[in-house]
């Protein structure tokens, strides 16, 4: 029993880390119909900035996180303006081609600037140490990731469901022409949502770095994982993404605990099963 709870805690925190990284991709794919394979690259940029700020400049962790988000968004703005905007509404294959190209470029440039080594983001003392939660010890940063996940999910949900911006965004998604006829500047709405998605990716890249270490090939290494998680959840659905991350996190973690030799089989078999049963994702929009 204790083992089960222990595994559940691991699964939960791992799933939450995935969630924070992936939810931005879910937004771009679901709301903006953009298959952005470069999402991981933005998460990676966030990780690099945070690593530079916290490790090389010795800044406070929270400040480094903030800097990472802002910096990544800043880098993403011209990319959105000149590249991504060209492929909104383009065929999926075109989007795949373009975003893979962008990923390659970002990897190449990162490699050039920072070298091929692993980058760590030193955690503040409070997060670095294991915490005793009664029946086992758990790394404090895992709890931190859990809290971040809950905050991000809640915040996003209320942003989309409860604010004027959310209304505009949903309207623009359902009918862009009508929405702009009503006087909403849809390209601004898109740009803001894109920035939001990138910012979330950067946040995920930083706080998830304990699970998915930051290095130049981060963007390619985990591209598939992110894409799969988002599709399973149903692109654009926040509860769907939470559910998918927790479910796949659970399958992955328990699979690796019970039969580590066949860990990947469980994961991908679960993916196939879910996609066959719910082609639009667990809670995807019809």
């Amino acid at each position: 029993m204790q083992t089960i709870i222990s595994i559940a805690v691991d699964a939960l925190t791992y799933g939450m880390a995935l969630f924070v990284i992936c939810i931005g991709l879910s937004l771009t794919m679901g709301l903006m119909r953009l298959v952005n394979l470069a999402h991981g690259a933005f998460a990676m940029i966030g990780g690099y900035i945070a690593s530079y700020a916290a490790r090389d400049l010795g800044l406070w962790y929270g400040f480094a996180v903030l800097l990472a988000i802002l910096g990544t968004v800043l880098i993403a703005i011209p990319l959105e303006r000149f590249l991504f905007r060209r492929i909104y509404g383009a065929p999926q294959l075109t989007q795949v081609l373009m975003t893979i190209g962008i990923t390659f470029c970002i990897i190449g440039i990162t490699n050039y600037l920072f070298g091929p080594t692993l980058k760590t983001i030193p955690l503040p003392r409070g997060l670095a140490e294991p915490v005793d939660i009664g029946f086992r010890t758990i790394a404090a940063h895992r709890l931190f990731v859990l809290v971040c996940g809950i905050v991000v999910a809640g915040g996003l949900w209320s942003l989309i469901e409860r604010t004027a911006f959310g209304v505009k965004l949903r309207a623009a998604v359902d009918n862009a022409a009508m929405t702009s006829a009503l006087g909403v500047r849809t390209e601004v709405v898109y740009a803001v949502s894109f920035a939001l998605a990138v910012g979330l990716g950067a946040l995920g890249g930083v706080i998830g770095a304990e699970f998915l270490p930051v290095e130049p090939y981060y963007a390619l290494r985990y591209m598939v994982t992110f894409l799969v998680v988002v599709s399973v959840g149903g692109a654009g659905s926040i509860p769907g993404a939470v559910l998918a991350c927790l479910l796949l996190g659970a399958v992955d973690t328990t699979g690796r605990y019970l039969m580590p030799d066949f860990g990947n089989f469980f994961f991908y078999a679960a993916v196939i099963l879910i996609v066959c049963l719910f082609p639009r994702g667990l809670l995807g929009r019809a």
């Binding site: 083992t3 222990s6 595994i7 691991d10 791992y14 490699n111 070298g115 091929p116 080594t117 692993l118 980058k119 760590t120 030193p122 294991p130 086992r136 010890t137 758990i138 790394a139 895992r142 304990e210 699970f211 998915l212 270490p213 290095e215 130049p216 090939y217 290494r221 985990y222 992955d252 973690t253 328990t254 690796r256 605990y257 580590p260 030799d261 860990g263 990947n264």
Partner: protein, 392 residues
């Protein structure tokens, strides 16, 4: 940069084959870009350090190096590159090769090419049996792992759980350790093979904890996964619980140590080379290689494989006086022994694999506050146990 020698490739495919007679060309294949670029850079650093120290000539013959990039294991591309080196660039020697399948794709070409292959890294025992023209100056996983079995028993450890990445070298490591440990009287209570793309190791650590073992033996490819693994080992409290950590040195390669940080302190690994190895030869080597690679913290084990590989190639050139004769070249280095930066080494005349010391090391903190692999025990003249008996 030596890489620039390839500039011509863009236009010069037609103009091939203008090599001058007195120049001996050596083709080096390695991962100079991609996820393993650091290991490729180490190849290059080793080669350049050797040539800086010993001159660009062997017995009066100019030695020219041609680098070819092979970012990841891809036998098809490997064969194409080897063919291009042999046929177009007219190299007399092939060297480098980081991954086993890539080496296996080259071996069938050697006889016809009349060129020896000196492997700087690819660490699967069986490569040597594929062609008599292969010489290896790196190590095999079995070779570096085997002493750990005795170490464990000596330290009073009776029960061990093994956790290895589920791929060739991982399985080699598991088998080698099990064999050595059980021969020494220990018991492997459980063997876990983890998929290569595992990112969260907490469930594995839970297994380790549940198994009741006194130590965990691990093998993972060097790089990002190592970080997650060592973190999980610390975070889940295994370290505090006193469960020892044993692994071949791939896990604590010097270029990963800064990322691992203090969490790596106390890890026990066995390996053929530590950058910290205390000898005049190594001091000279580290100085030269650091200059070539651009930073001391990027230096790691492939550089020494390359350095010694170049030594072997130089000896071959001397033996054949610059003429292309693969068999003579290989025969000349059988039994060759010298003092490498890693310590005394020799080429086993039977297997053509390097015989060398294996060191037990502990990750410790130096005076400069940086962690390093501290050699604490030496197992001299280790051969590759994976090749010792003929056949299986």
């Amino acid at each position: 940069m030596a890489v620039r020698t390839l500039m011509g490739a863009a236009f010069g495919l037609l103009l091939a084959g203008t090599a001058s007679a007195e120049t001996v060309k050596v083709g080096i294949i390695g991962p100079f870009s991609g996820p393993f670029a650091l290991q490729g850079k180490n190849f290059q650093a080793g080669v350049e350090a050797y040539m800086a120290a010993n001159g660009k000539q062997a017995k009066g013959h100019d030695v020219e190096i041609i680098y070819k990039d092979l970012p990841a294991a891809n036998p098809q591309a490997s064969r194409a590159l080897a063919q291009e080196l042999i046929v177009k660039d007219k190299v007399q020697y092939l060297g480098g090769v980081y991954f086993t399948p890539d080496a296996l794709a080259i071996t069938p070409l050697l006889k016809q090419a009349n060129a020896p292959l000196v492997i700087f890294n690819a660490a699967t025992s069986a490569i040597m049996t594929q062609s008599p023209l292969v010489v290896r100056t790196s190590f095999t996983t079995a070779q570096t792992t085997t002493p750990l079995g005795k170490v464990a028993v000596d330290r009073g450890i009776k029960k061990v759980i093994t956790t290895v990445s589920d791929y060739g070298p991982g399985v080699d490591a598991e088998n080698a350790f099990k064999k050595a440990f059980e021969a020494a009287g220990g018991q492997v209570v459980e063997s876990i093979r983890m998929p290569l793309n595992t990112t969260d190791f907490s469930p594995i650590m839970q297994r380790v904890k549940d198994s009741g073992a006194e130590a965990v033996f691990s093998f993972l490819p060097s790089g990002p996964t190592t970080l997650g693994y060592v973190k999980a080992y610390n975070d889940t409290g295994l370290k505090q619980a006193g469960i020892k950590f044993l692994a071949p040195g791939d896990l604590t390669q010097e270029s990963d140590l800064p990322a691992l940080g203090d969490g790596a302190l106390g890890l026990l690994t066995s390996f053929h080379y530590a950058v910290s190895h205390d000898s005049p030869e190594n001091k000279k080597f580290v100085e030269g290689a650091t200059k070539a690679i651009g930073g001391a913290d990027q230096l790691s084990f492939p550089s020494v494989g390359a350095y010694d590989g170049m030594h072997v190639i130089y000896k071959m050139i001397e033996a054949t006086d610059g003429k292309q004769d693969a068999e003579k070249a290989v025969n000349a280095v059988k039994g060759l022994s010298w003092t490498s930066p890693r310590g005394p080494v020799s080429i086993d005349p039977e297997t053509r694999h390097v015989t060398q010391n294996i060191y037990l090391r502990e990750v410790a903190k130096g005076q400069d506050g940086k962690t390093y692999n501290k050699e604490i025990q030496t197992f001299p003249n280790q051969k590759d146990p994976g090749l010792a008996p003929a056949g299986q």
